[in-house]
Symmetry: C2
Subunit: 377 residues, 2 copies
Amino acid sequence: MASKFSYEIIHVDKQTGARVGKLTTPHSVITTPVFMPVGTNATVKGLTPEELKDLGAQIILSNTYHLFLRPGTDVLDAAGGVHKFMNWDRSLLTDSGGFQVFSLSKTRKIKEEGVEFASIIDGSKQFISPEKSIAIQNSIGSDIMMAFDECTPPGVKYEYAREAMERTLRWLARCYEVSKDNPDQMLFPIIQGNMFEDLRIESARRTAEYARCGIAIGGLSVGEPKEVMYHMLEIMRPYYPDDQPRYLMGVGSVDCIVEGVVRGVDMFDCVLPTRIARNGTAMTRVGNLNLRNARFVKDFRPLEEGCTCYACRHYSRAYIHHLIGKDEMLGGRLLSIHNIHALMRLTEDIREAIMEDRLMDFRDEWAANWKDKITED
Amino acid sequence: MASKFSYEIIHVDKQTGARVGKLTTPHSVITTPVFMPVGTNATVKGLTPEELKDLGAQIILSNTYHLFLRPGTDVLDAAGGVHKFMNWDRSLLTDSGGFQVFSLSKTRKIKEEGVEFASIIDGSKQFISPEKSIAIQNSIGSDIMMAFDECTPPGVKYEYAREAMERTLRWLARCYEVSKDNPDQMLFPIIQGNMFEDLRIESARRTAEYARCGIAIGGLSVGEPKEVMYHMLEIMRPYYPDDQPRYLMGVGSVDCIVEGVVRGVDMFDCVLPTRIARNGTAMTRVGNLNLRNARFVKDFRPLEEGCTCYACRHYSRAYIHHLIGKDEMLGGRLLSIHNIHALMRLTEDIREAIMEDRLMDFRDEWAANWKDKITED
């Protein structure tokens, strides 16, 4: 029987080696480079599945840590998985819960068996092991499962980073063991190694042995300077499997996506576009607009000139400024639509540039116009 | 030139005298009895205009008091009115700000000229007179404007209720004066009189003189027992103009709509369906469901069996329970859609019963099944 998962490379950019590819899962075909919107609690905040489809999303993320605590696997099993629970019939990717165990829970105890931690909901004692992480992801029914890993923050000592990397590799072997015969869910292993060049290389090399249809890069964009992240991406690049997509976890700003693709990354995800939307920020080709600013009170232009998203076709900056100022749900909703659309359009433009072997030109042109924050326009 | 406003009675129910009618405004034709969703700040909380149209809304409300304070008339004038500002091309009705001046502002000073009050936004001193209320509603560009009135709470002394009623009538004359020649905006006068029978009758009689294409009933559903409201509706009924729609302000629960139509009311509005939606409550034919209740955790039935709304077609009670518990925007959105749909369907059923001269039978059947709150099903 042919595998339900495959990755086909359509074109390799002559300037950068970046690729356009097609990743097939049991639920959809995903063209890479791709940005994946995040639906932490089995919902992309404020949006319906139909809106996500209209925006062109072929795959979204959900969160193993959060869904394990609420609603719990008994509900997910009874629901028949998250696809049915949330009415999403395209691809779904779940992280392993590893990152949240380390970043969200106030106390945790790391053992060889797994991690004991306090629930963010009620402080109750919980336990996730590699096997349990996969079992939860089985209940979720995601197309792509992530291996349970230990993500170390920037600044840890070399010895600890190596220890965590070795543990992550041992946990990976256990995740692999309980998922390798699952025809409906593909495991992506995760490279760690903190900001140490030799650990990153060693982790990439040894992690690649477990990669069948995709490999992930974890532990970046966790507080280190962007240049450090870009450097780590360059260091690891020779060691990825050539014929599989590479997924840079938790990255979703315009600049990091452009610079990531140039350095060989195919997949991205982040809560950023929807989180900053709820705070009143619009992402544009040239930088971020803070719609709370009083200068928008009578600005009847769309969020972004030439943008074809629902928000830009029907509403003005003045109206969205009004909604955000009054804390109206529609404000965050319109900005979420605009921001996800902006990243969908960005990856579309990137794919077009790759197909035409001009990604470096595209990158340089983009960088010449880019401002981190727009204060006038 | 023919007026841009008209009301045509299609059928009068033989059992109750309730009517099905068509109210025409410059922006749409509204079939009555009608429920009008409320968009206080130029947005029906959480919903787009397209969703409201899909739900069958021909008219929505907006709030003069709130829009006067934010974004203010200079912005509304620059935007070309609220229709354009919020992307709504069907009918719009605005209240006069009178009710909010009396119910929301902590301090106020009532003078013959108008009312001085403290803004709920920043406590700043503000002033609205009858003429100013109409001027704000001109900036908003609503199809139906309400007269500026004084709404007294239940429990005030007879003398004060009469004084307020007389003042409301004098203010009405001033509102009429500055709106009678406006071909695009129709003024609805408002009956007051607190819970005093003779005042209600006198107010209805004298207010009717200013009614050209609709009359409103104010000062009810403000805390008095429902039976008192129903009694007041019966008392006033002989004094409404026969050929115009009657609008019972601020009423939007299932029971009050049914009982209101039976007593001759044609138009209703309320924040209730969207407000209780955000709190996790679903309105059904037989009562309200509190989706926060733990009994829904594995209940994979739709909110209401047989309901054809978007929420019921695609999502389970278990999923909505999960969303509401996690404070996810989509939860309030799905319940808002369901609740507005429930009231749209209710008024549709009511119109059908009227057309078939069986409204009293419909009312009795409904009442036999009605529970204020459903704790089991």
